[in-house]
Structures are given as structure tokens and as C-alpha cells.
């Protein structure tokens, strides 16, 4: 989905608030969120693609204003309700207030029928697609051309795996893009490498 979570290349942000040896957690409840969303994965309540997609489905204002661990928490709460582990009523009664949840998912999709294999050195183009459900191609590579520099063995196809749809695993291709191709005249010179699932690609001339 073309959501606000798709941050790569978005302008208007200020400086990275970096300090050396920065912390991961800033409050004890954050560790509990991390432990419990991982526990839910271990219990098979949902997989990591469903977890990521439930974060993406957060109401956009909520996504941008929430802290990292509030986003994790919202995904955990939403998926447990969607999977029937508990009801919204039970959760809110116990929490003593309302619990903001993610919005409903659009449908997922199986592998793209016309996908094909590539080899290192091939020029590939990222298909101009707008997938309504979960997708792991960032918007900034859509329609862009790059070169395959590495290939991994197959992974679950996220567009299906996040939606409980059966699909074949797919290799991901490490595709090298130049920033001059991604954002002509408006980026620092660099190569950007993205791990791109086979279904997202088509051959480039």
C-alpha cells in the first residue's frame, strides 16, 4: 500500500537525532511490548509479515505521532483481536480506556504469474504497480531501473504471507540503483541497494 510508512526519500524531515551508543528502549513498558509481540509470533498467532503490515495499516496521523513501540503495541493489539485471541471489548475493559487499533487490511495477492528468473548483471525494472495490501518494494524504486548484483535463496512472498494467502517462496534480488536514477538532480550521489522480490521485477531493455 502507498502508506505514510513508506518513508524512503520523503522530504521535509529534520536532522537525525543521533547520539553515540544510543539506547534502544526508553521505558520498561517498551520491553514488555517487544517481548509480547515476539511471544505472539512464537505461538503462531501471526507471522512477521502480518505484524509489519498491521503497523502499516495504522491510521496515518497515529502512525506518524506514535513512538516506535506504540506502533508495535498497536500491531500486537490489532492482530490479537483480528485473530480472535481476545475482543476489543475485553482489551479496553482491562485497559480502562480505548485502545487505538490499525485499520482493516485490503486484500493480499499471490506471486505474479509473469515473474521470471534473473542472473547477476541483468538490468531489471521495478514494475509500476500499486499493491493495495502488504508489499516490500519501497515506493522510491517503483518504475526504476537497476542492475542485479546478488541473488538470495527463496523467502516467503510478503504480499501473500502477510494476508494468509498461499504462495511460492521467491528469491530476492539485490538490485543496485543509482540515486541519480531514483531522484534525478535531487539526491546525494550514492548507490542504493534494495532486496527486491522476483514478483516486483520485469526485464529492462
Amino acid at each position: 500500500m502507498d502508506g505514510v510508512h513508506d518513508m524512503g526519500g520523503r522530504q521535509g524531515f529534520g536532522r537525525v537525532r543521533h547520539k553515540p551508543k544510543a539506547e534502544t528502549f526508553h521505558a520498561p513498558w517498551e520491553k514488555r511490548v517487544n517481548a509480547l509481540y515476539s511471544l505472539a509470533v512464537k505461538h503462531g498467532i501471526y507471522n512477521m509479515d502480518e505484524y509489519r503490515h498491521a503497523i502499516e495499516r495504522m491510521e496515518p496521523r497515529h502512525y506518524l505521532s506514535a513512538s516506535y513501540y506504540e506502533r508495535s503495541l498497536t500491531s500486537l493489539a490489532t492482530l490479537c483481536i483480528e485473530k480472535g485471541v481476545f475482543t476489543q471489548d475485553e482489551l479496553e475493559r482491562r485497559a480502562g480506556g480505548t485502545v487505538p487499533l490499525s485499520l482493516p487490511a485490503a486484500p493480499g495477492r499471490p506471486n505474479v504469474a509473469t515473474r521470471q528468473k534473473y542472473k547477476i548483471g541483468d538490468r531489471v525494472r521495478v514494475r509500476t504497480e500499486h499493491v493495495p495490501g502488504h508489499v516490500r518494494a519501497p515506493g522510491y524504486i517503483r518504475g526504476k531501473t537497476g542492475i542485479v548484483v546478488d541473488i538470495t535463496p527463496a523467502y516467503p512472498f510478503p504480499d501473500a504471507h502477510a494476508h494468509g494467502i498461499h504462495a511460492e517462496d521467491e528469491p530476492t534480488y539485490d538490485v543496485r540503483f543509482r540515486t541519480e536514477e531514483l531522484w534525478p538532480g535531487s539526491a546525494d550521489r550514492a548507490e542504493v541497494h534494495v532486496g527486491v522480490f522476483e514478483s516486483y521485477l520485469e526485464p529492462a531493455a
Partner: protein
Amino acid sequence: MPDTGHRQQETAPVERRIDAIEAIFEARGMNARAAIEEFEHTIEEKWLPENGARVVAKAWTDPAFKKRLMENGRAAVGELGLTMPPHHRHLIVKENTATLQNVICCTLCSCTAFTIIGLPPDWYKELEYRARVVRQSRTVLKEMGLDLPESVDIRVWDTTADTRYMILPERPARTAGWSEEQLAAIVTKDAMIGVARLA
């Protein structure tokens, strides 16, 4: 719909929300408390940047290990007793040199090789880094204290699949003859993400 009166209430604070989920999990026999304690133990004792630092130090001092690490990161770190979650099927190691700076990010969320280099720092997961580092890499690195000359090329690795990356930093010249332990002690998480160089 029965008993929706409580819906009129205020939004529950985040702590109360996770309290509620923890209590429900506990009531369902999912051993939430034990999982939390185990997680707290794991992040304090196991998922530490010292793991990656050992990998780096060994790669600096053992050319055969370095070769195996660059070819199959997951298997090579396993030689040191380090493991990765099943869904992290690959660990790809990229080497920084005098003329090349590799940098890791995850524009879509916050993916990292956390069992090896430690859980990601706060700024790595923040919107600023995710939005800007792919498009303004040199500017962002400079703002973060790493002012690279134009002669250094930059490669950004956006972690969009479940392949995980770590950076093998350039070994500082002053460390000639140091032991693996001495070397490991100077390797930072920032250097293994690629936003810092070691001096």
C-alpha cells in the same frame, strides 16, 4: 452491541494497554511474565553489539574466517556460537574501505541483524533516518558526525527483505599487532551499521 459504555472513555495510556495484553496472555496460559523476563535477560545478556565486535575482530585477524564470513555470514557467525532467528535466512557482510562506505537502513520499518549487532538504536528506527539516509546519505552522515570526502563512495543497503546486513568496518591503522580481544573492544554498533568509522 452489549456493554459499550466504556468506549466513551479516554484513550488508555500505552502502559495500561500492554498491562491488559500481558494479563490476557497470562490468563490464556501463554506465560507472558516468563516471556518478558526471558526477553529482558536476552537483550541484556545475548543480543549485544559485542557479538558483532567479535566477528569483526576475527575477520580482521583471520583471513580464512573473513573469506567464509563474506561468502556465508550466517554460517560464519555460527562458528563463534552466534545464532540468528529462523526468518533471518541470510547475513550479508559488506566491507568498508578507504574509498567505500556501506551504510544499512530499513526505510519501511526497522529491520536489523539484532542478534549479531544488537537491537537497533532509537535513531535508526526514527522517521528522519528512514526518510533521509537513502536520498541524502552524505548529508545525513555528515550531520551524524561522519564527514566523508567526495573520494569515498557511498552504498546504502535498504533492508527490505529478511536478509540481514552487517558492516565490516575498516581496521584502524593504529591497531597493528592488537589481539582479537583488544580489537573487539573498539568496534561499535554505529560502525557495524555504517554511520561511523573507527579511529
